[in-house]
Symmetry: C2
Subunit: 437 residues, 2 copies
């Protein structure tokens, strides 16, 4: 192999996190975790590789056939790199079904992979905050999940002009389809088409329903008129569909919780995954720069059933870090996040090239003292660098203070503390130094 | 597919982190990060999937041929799930070679995968703290890296009876082999055999050297006598080998840094990876229960060269979370880490089955107030659960306080605060409540 033939770029659609990006990632994740804990959610994680079957069952055709990273391992097992987290949490809940205390409130921030054409807001990998509650049948759980989304955004300083949650209901949609005498075998294809509606024209949408789902013009019209229906229509459907009743109850509880202004009923929200069974919702950035859904979720009552034959109702959502960071940047909600090193301890260069270690020792000792006090310190490691060059390094790295220890300082048992921003310096004894920091 | 056929266990050799394990993982990672920052290291991360080639060049045969998880993606690229982090950091440094400020101090805690037989202390996946410094040629960098390892262990309360760092040197070993007239084409196989010596008998070791490396008995004897040599031998080799000189200089600086008692010269430490070029070291648990190396690292001066043809010297180490947790548990250094929810806000059950929401509202309001103060709160979501059952949940989850709001409390604008450990309760106004928490 040629000596210099190795690729320096990351794999297509994946990100390198250099320290300045890592700080932003950590800033976002820390706030996400704080909000989840505030609602009593506990962090969990599962493996990056999962048995392929757990997706094949319920995640939906597009994801499983076109997007999943799967391969056969050296032991001849078909495995997948996790494309979403919900099957993992369903597996884990199933595994400890009878030991766990219900309701279960869990969150995680897994790194997920899907094979797709990288584009703005969508890469092949992303981190996704997943928040789920298991064991509550009532819409109170849906409300709590929506409340968490609202609080997550407010935590970063977002207000109601910036985002909106749009909510639909799978039961209502199915009842409308049944009402139009559309056979249930066509529901999956119809939902898939509706989920794509944001990205395609109405004509393309009609074409798909006609060609893929083999629907008659009248059936297509009834779907279109439902998708354009307003809140009044839900009231009309109240007696006919438990889905309508569910939405009305959800709306009422949203008002009680004081978050109704963040949520809007939208019959076209259905979600792309197969396993949802009730309310479904998506979070949108209200800026035209960012039209993609930032988060999505809903109720899924039958996911654990596939593992152990028992029914536990779940509600949850996922929110990706790529669109979320776009959102924060777009609305100028991302602060400068400084690096954390506070001191550069310089090492006085040996002018005569002798083997004396006294300068290095004095600096090493000072670094040790500071570190024992829990302070973040870089010790200059090369014994023959000019002080100016060392200070330039501190300046470039935005390290606020430099410490200089030359002959004068060693003889007087002092240090010189240099404020890199103010460009002022003070001569201090070690104990004075420790007292002021 | 059968309804209940899905596997509930994680993929072989991989772990599910239920909340109690996740808390331990977070506890360990947080301390790791604090120590790294104390030495001025900045966190970074790279993608979970990397181009296969970056391992093929330098990671060593066993890893690449037998252990790596690799596959062809849908775009016909050969990719690998990262089995180690050093090639990623070398790739990232190469990518921004001319923009970065040297020396570079970076750390990361990637999840890494190797296909192997799962056993104690070794799984197919683990998290590994990686700490690396680039751009310092002198052993001062080696010392800083060793100092970080020592501080990492001390941070958890470990002392010098519990662990030991053993250090060898690749240059010295190669010079010894050259001195015995062994051709350099055999060095790789010899190093591989030496790296295995901990796990095999001396007879097996001799057999491997004879059969695999085709060595004569005299050559084998000279290797064995080197492996049994003590510190005096290094002094003898001082003039002959720059490796011996490097070790002596390292030993001297270890003394200056006050950490010499944690480090021992051990000629049998060579490390399994191909890319090391100087000092190499391994961290051992001194308990007989845990004989595996807990961390390993060394100097690698040519890794960036394969990407961009430039030489930047690096020193670093990796420390896995599986053996590290074993170490902490073995020496009883792992504290109880409580869950973080502080309050369960109960909801008074509706005795008459009416639609009144007053109890739920009152509890929801209280939960909101606490959360706005940054406190971690679970609100009971089911409106018809007996208070006893709700309290039992708080008890099982180790939530320290429960709040009860029934008719009396609502009428008097008060709440009842129940200390779940002391089993005492107090009647408080909301403002009194906020003042005492």
């Amino acid at each position: 192999m040629d000596n210099t033939s190795l690729p320096t770029q990351p794999y297509k659609g994946a990100r390198d996190f250099y320290p300045e990006d890592m700080r932003i990632r950590n800033y976002i994740f820390l706030k996400w975790k704080e909000v989840c804990k505030r609602f009593g959610y506990e962090e969990y994680d599962g493996p990056f590789i999962e048995p392929f079957e757990i997706y094949a069952a319920k995640s939906g055709e597009e994801l499983v056939n076109e997007q999943i990273y799967s391969f056969i391992d050296r032991g001849d097992r078909k495995v997948a790199i996790r494309p979403e987290m919900t099957p993992t949490i369903a597996r884990m809940v199933s595994q400890r079904y009878s030991e766990l205390n219900y309701p279960i409130r869990w969150f995680s921030i897994p790194n997920l992979w899907r094979y797709e054409k990288p584009q703005k807001g969508r890469l092949r990998e992303h981190f996704q905050l997943n928040v789920d509650i298991f064991g509550i049948d009532g819409v109170e759980a849906d409300i709590e999940i929506i409340q968490i989304i609202v609080n997550l955004l407010k935590e970063f300083g977002a207000d109601k002009n910036m985002f909106e949650i749009r909510m639909g209901n799978r039961i209502l949609l199915e009842d409308v389809l049944k009402d139009a005498n559309i056979p249930s075998s066509k529901f999956k294809d119809i939902m898939k088409a509706i989920d794509k509606l944001k990205k395609i024209s109405v004509d393309d949408f009609k074409y798909i329903l006609k060609e893929k789902a083999d629907l008659k013009p009248k059936e297509i019209d009834s779907i279109l008129s439902f998708l354009q229906s307003s809140n009044e229509y839900i009231l009309k459907m109240k007696e006919k569909s438990p889905g309508a009743e569910e939405i009305l109850k959800t709306m009422k509880l949203l008002r009680l919780s004081g978050i109704e202004s963040y949520v809007k009923y939208d019959p076209s929200v259905v979600r792309g995954l197969d396993y949802y069974t009730g309310n479904v919702f998506e979070l949108f950035d209200l800026s035209p720069n960012n039209s993609r859904a930032m988060a999505g979720g809903g109720r899924y009552n039958n996911l654990v059933e596939g593992f152990i034959g028992k029914r536990i109702s779940g509600v949850g959502f996922g929110m990706g870090d790529v669109t979320f960071r776009n959102f924060l940047e777009n609305w100028h909600l991302l602060p400068q996040i400084p690096q954390t090193t506070e001191f550069l301890i310089t090492v006085w260069p040996k002018e005569d090239g002798t083997k004396s270690d006294k300068y290095f020792n004095a600096s090493l000792e000072t670094a040790d003292i500071l570190r024992k006090k829990g302070r973040n310190v870089i010790l200059w490691l090369d014994a023959n660098t000019k002080i100016e060059k060392q200070l330039k390094f501190a300046d470039k790295k935005n390290i606020p203070y430099a410490v200089i220890i030359g002959d004068d300082e060693i003889n007087n048992k002092k240090i010189t503390l240099k404020d890199m921003k103010e460009m002022k310096q003070k001569n201090l004894s070690i104990s004075e130094f420790i007292n002021i920091i």
